[in-house]
Structure formats: structure tokens, C-alpha cells
Subunit: 116 residues, 2 copies
Amino acid sequence: MQDDLSRTFSALADPTRRAILARLAEGEANVSELAAPFLASMSLPAVTKHLKVLEHAGLISKGRQAQWRPCRLNGEPLRDAVDWMAQYREAWEAQLDRLGAYLKTKTQGDRRGNND
Amino acid sequence: MQDDLSRTFSALADPTRRAILARLAEGEANVSELAAPFLASMSLPAVTKHLKVLEHAGLISKGRQAQWRPCRLNGEPLRDAVDWMAQYREAWEAQLDRLGAYLKTKTQGDRRGNND
């Protein structure tokens, strides 16, 4: 069985699903509204399959009104994913800083080498 | 072909691969060192397969010394993933705040209901 964090990252690993989340970040929308931008390149069942993956990962939920069941974004799993990344961000940033400093020194060294 | 961001999220969607990245956030390590904590529950080829996924996603790279080829973390793909999430974070946080405010009101209402 997949753990929560793996399910979240797995759901995010697709451009259509990320676009759907981006749309929902602007506000609730129903399935037809969410599907509209993709129907030129994929079928409605393909879009609803993506919605099911997002729903299964807890990233979206559907309203209970029978007539108009809007989808909405659930922030919690995304927050957990950001938290996981933030934990190591300091280490990555430090490595990026070191790389940046190294490249800067190297470029300056190369420039000096060219001018001499 | 998978896009960069999808490849990053896909690589993160596994607890073993996340544990390897967490280990590398502390500093470089070679394959045997990285594999050691997992060999009770999986084979060395299984661990090296995970390393290949991380390498393919550009999340780690291997040093060039023939004798000791340490793996190191590459921060850039992770930074791109965090950036993607940060873009929508404001919307999620606002939704979480609204949910929090709603739950608070509801709890207070329930308490009042019980006290009346």
C-alpha cells in the first residue's frame, strides 16, 4: 500500500493533474468546467480518471449537492509535501550556494585567464 | 516523454527514494553507504534501481573518481518542484484559513449550543 506522501507526489507527477489543481487554486469548478480545456487532446473518461487519482490522493474533494457537484482543492496533502521538501531545503540551498560561489570563482578565474 | 517536473514528482513518490535523498542532504555518500540501511528489506539491485530513478530525474549525480564514486544531491529539480507548489500555496493557505475559521466558528457554536 502506498503511503500518503508517495500518493501525493505520484498524483502531482502529471501535467494534466497539475493543471487541474492550478485551476482549482482559483476556486471551485465542476467536472465539465475542469475537463473543457483538455477535451481537444483527451477524452472525458481520461479527464475523470485524472480527477479520481487526485481525489484518491486527497488533493481534491467533491461537493455534496446532487445537481452541481463542484470540485475543490484540499490543501493539507500539498502542505505535507511542501513540509517534507522544506525539511531538506536548507541543505539543498547550501549546496546551490556552494555551487554558485564555485561557478562565480571559476568564471572570474577564466576571465582573468583570458585577459592575461 | 515525461516532463521534468513530472519526473521529479514521480521520483519523490517512493519512501526509499525520499530516504536516500534525506541521507544525501547530510552529505555525499557512495552506493554501499546509501544501500546499507535498506539491505535488510531489499536487494542491492533494488536499491541501485532506485538510485537510477533519482539520477534519471536529475536529483542526484555521481562523482567521477573511479575508486570512490560518491553520490550527491542536486538541488535544482527540488527547487523547481517547491517553486511549482509555492505558486499555489497562497490559494491553499487561504482555503485552509477559511476552513480553520469555519471549524472554529462551528466549535464555538456547538459549545454555545451545549451550554444553552
